[in-house]
């Protein structure tokens, strides 16, 4: 197992290298010019040219890539073209809100979606099952920003219970932290809840047909122990897989959610950087997201062994 983990962690190095090359090349080929954005709309072409030269954007691809990659190997993501701040500092400023949002969304989604899916499978064909599946369809269909606006309208503007926007660091207290994040987490979690609930239901339906479930019933096991101990544990592998895949969904959704609720997180940093063509920031954030995704996949692979002892690495 240990050797497997080490192998997987080492395998992330070439993956990250490829991601770095891909991201750098893509940005090099993409249209757009940070010098033009910096110079402002009223700048003359000469101004733009001067700024481009001062940023070193007029140098050949290989020189720029070589310099950047060498810095990356030293753990230096470079300086933002626009703010002149280290990319690592900018990421550090933004990581807590995004991490908080994702963790809260994950907790909310899993704690709501898994019981929903289990109950829908147990009550297959009933009104409860249809209601759960209806909610799942709704969760998939309604865009995150629409849910966000509706929640903000009801709970912030009409009821005045929660703030519309912003983020309060966890260090300033759990309640203010939660007040700022609960609406974004619900908005972002909608799709995720729908996805996990559907997969849980489908997997549970399959498991509930198995012989060992009939055996458990014959032994007189009560319903909750059948559902949550015998069936859910055996249905866990596909559910955990979906939870892992869904983290990519969360990263994408965080971009929209952070914009709607004005949360100063990595999603907004990414969008701002893309719109301005702040290449070092885009490259830094994409590398970070790729790294996180690789690690999440590793964690999920390891989690399989907890739910299914037959799986060995």
């Amino acid at each position: 197992m240990f050797a497997y983990v080490v192998r997987r962690v080492l395998a992330t190095i070439p993956v990250m290298g490829l991601v770095a090359l891909f991201v750098f090349s893509l940005l090099y080929l993409a249209p757009g010019d940070p010098a033009a954005v910096i110079a402002g709309d009223q700048a003359t072409p000469q101004d733009v040219e001067r700024i481009r030269a001062s940023l070193g954007l007029d140098r050949p691809y290989l020189v720029r890539f070589g310099e950047w990659f060498f810095r990356i190997l030293q753990g230096d993501l470079g300086l933002s073209i626009f703010t002149n701040l280290p990319v690592t500092t900018m990421i550090a400023q933004r990581i807590e809100p995004t991490l908080s949002l994702m963790i809260l969304t994950l907790i909310l989604a899993i704690s709501i979606a898994v019981p929903m899916g289990v109950i829908a499978a147990w009550k297959q064909g009933t009104l409860i099952d249809r209601a759960v599946m209806g909610f799942a369809v709704l969760g998939f269909s309604v865009p995150v920003f629409v849910v966000g606006y509706v929640l903000a309208y009801i709970f912030a503007l009409e009821l005045d219970w929660l703030p519309v926007q912003g983020y309060t660091p966890f260090a300033r207290g759990f309640v203010p932290w939660l007040q700022n994040l609960i609406l974004p987490a619900i908005a972002l979690g909608g799709v995720y809840i729908a996805l996990i609930a559907r997969i849980t239901r489908a997997t549970m339906l399959e498991v509930l047909q198995q012989d060992y479930i009939r055996t458990a019933r014959a032994k007189g096991a009560n319903q909750s122990s059948i559902l949550f101990l015998h069936a859910l544990k055996n249905a866990a592998v596909p559910i955990v897989t979906v939870i892992g895949i869904g983290i990519a969904l969360l990263i994408g959704g965080a971009v929209v959610t952070e914009s709607v609720f004005a949360i100063p997180g990595l999603g907004r940093l990414t969008v701002d950087a893309i719109l301005r063509r702040d290449y070092p920031v885009i490259q830094g954030v994409v590398l970070l997201f790729s790294f996180v995704y690789v690690l999440v996949n590793l964690a999920i692979d390891l989690a399989y062994t907890l739910f299914d002892p037959r799986i060995r690495y």
Binding site: P34, Q42, F82, Q165, R172, A262
Partner: protein, 526 residues
Amino acid sequence: MERRTFLAATGATLLSAPALSQGAAARTLKFVPQANLANFDPIWGTQYVVRNAAAAVWDTLYGIDDQLVPQPQMVEGETMSADGLVWDFRLRPGLLFHDGAPVLAKDVVASITRWMPRDPMGQMISAIQDELVAVDDRHFRWKLKRPYPKLKYALGKTATPCCFIMPERIAAGTGSTTMITEYVGSGPMTFERGEWVPGAKAVFKKFDRYVPREGTASWMAGPKRILVDRLEWVVMPDPATAAAALQNGEVDWWESPISDLIPLMRRNRNVAVDIADPLGNIGSFRMNHLHPPFNNKKVRQAVLTALSQEDYMRALVGDDTNLWSVLGGYFTPGTSGYTEAGGEALKAKNLARGRQLLAESGYANEPVICLVAQDQPLTKAMGDVTADLLRRLGMNVDFVATDWGTVGQRRAMRNPPGQGGWSMFHTWHAGADTVNPAAYNALRANGEQAWFGWPSIPAVEAGVTEWFDAPNEDAEKIAMDKINREAVENVVYAPTGFFKSYQAWRRNVTGIQKGPLPFFWGVAKS
């Protein structure tokens, strides 16, 4: 520690909200700016949002007032020699930088020297400069090779880049194309670098040792008295969120609400709405004069004649006619220099005549590559109207829907349209910049040196030169008439109308001025 004590302590810590007292809240002004403050060097980056923040942190030698007249600001007074070649300036006493050092003439000389290469007026002055020296701590002298009557205007204008005064060690130690990394201001507020989260938040604090002028504040002139302790810029990319935050009292002042949300703001009795800047903006249909079809004057005239400014304005800002008007000239309406000399074609709105001019031009169905930024609501709306207009005129439209970053890059390309170039794009010009030719880059027609599109129209340039040399207002007026007439005749660009925008604030905030930028002095919160 006992279990209950531990739980109580933990609970208290977790549940503690950062309660600001009412007094503290009243001393903090929360402002939603038009855009993200992505950098903070007003000479290196000339975006309006940087200028707006910089105006609170750095002072200027002169300040334009609401009559568009430069008034002494850091300067106590000046003298000009009879031949107009030697200017002597004296700084007023008590000026301090935020690090406590006094503002000296050598700081001013270094700041002007860094500003000049980045500014069109600065470049003109630089070309005729004999010397710029600090005579003593409070006195600096500027010797010119020929008179430059607009010198005070250049030092006090609001058009970017403004001539902000920084310490010599920063201004002289940093080239104008390198970003400063130390933000030591000379103005009424300090910039809190440690609290700056680009894309999310910027914080400014009142500088207690700033010495305001006497008199009444008017735009960039007069006493810059800060009446709050702390100013927080809260960046909100989503207008609906900003609207909700203002209604909910989470922010105090929103610089640029979109017109769609104005009725909603008006319905809230705690929110006030008014015009932000009486000088407004001029929409622009910018053509590429280097390549077909718009290198042909008759094609440009065909577009100008057929174009309905009303169509553009309704698409841009809606049916609220307080917000827009049709232009008969290129300068800012409502100002002393505004002229409609020769401007009949701008109001023609004659599609049939436009088609006739197009037929006479020999237009050979060349594609018209329209670069339309979809991420800017204004350019997107104008682009949609343009596509329809050009098609109705009978032109072959190649509509390139893209983002502003790409337009910014591609519009700098001088290649023919088929080889990565372009035919037209949309933008808009702040009315404060289009008041006269001083900072009106888009109206210049000096070919290679001109703004994107590179028009080459010597008659327009002759008018601009006459304006800069004009000894009085009458002579300026004659020059502006000439510029307008020639600009319309040759179609430097096609104005798509004059429009204003609103600003909105909580009613417990007072002292907000209407102007080309948000002025934070004189603004109080109860």
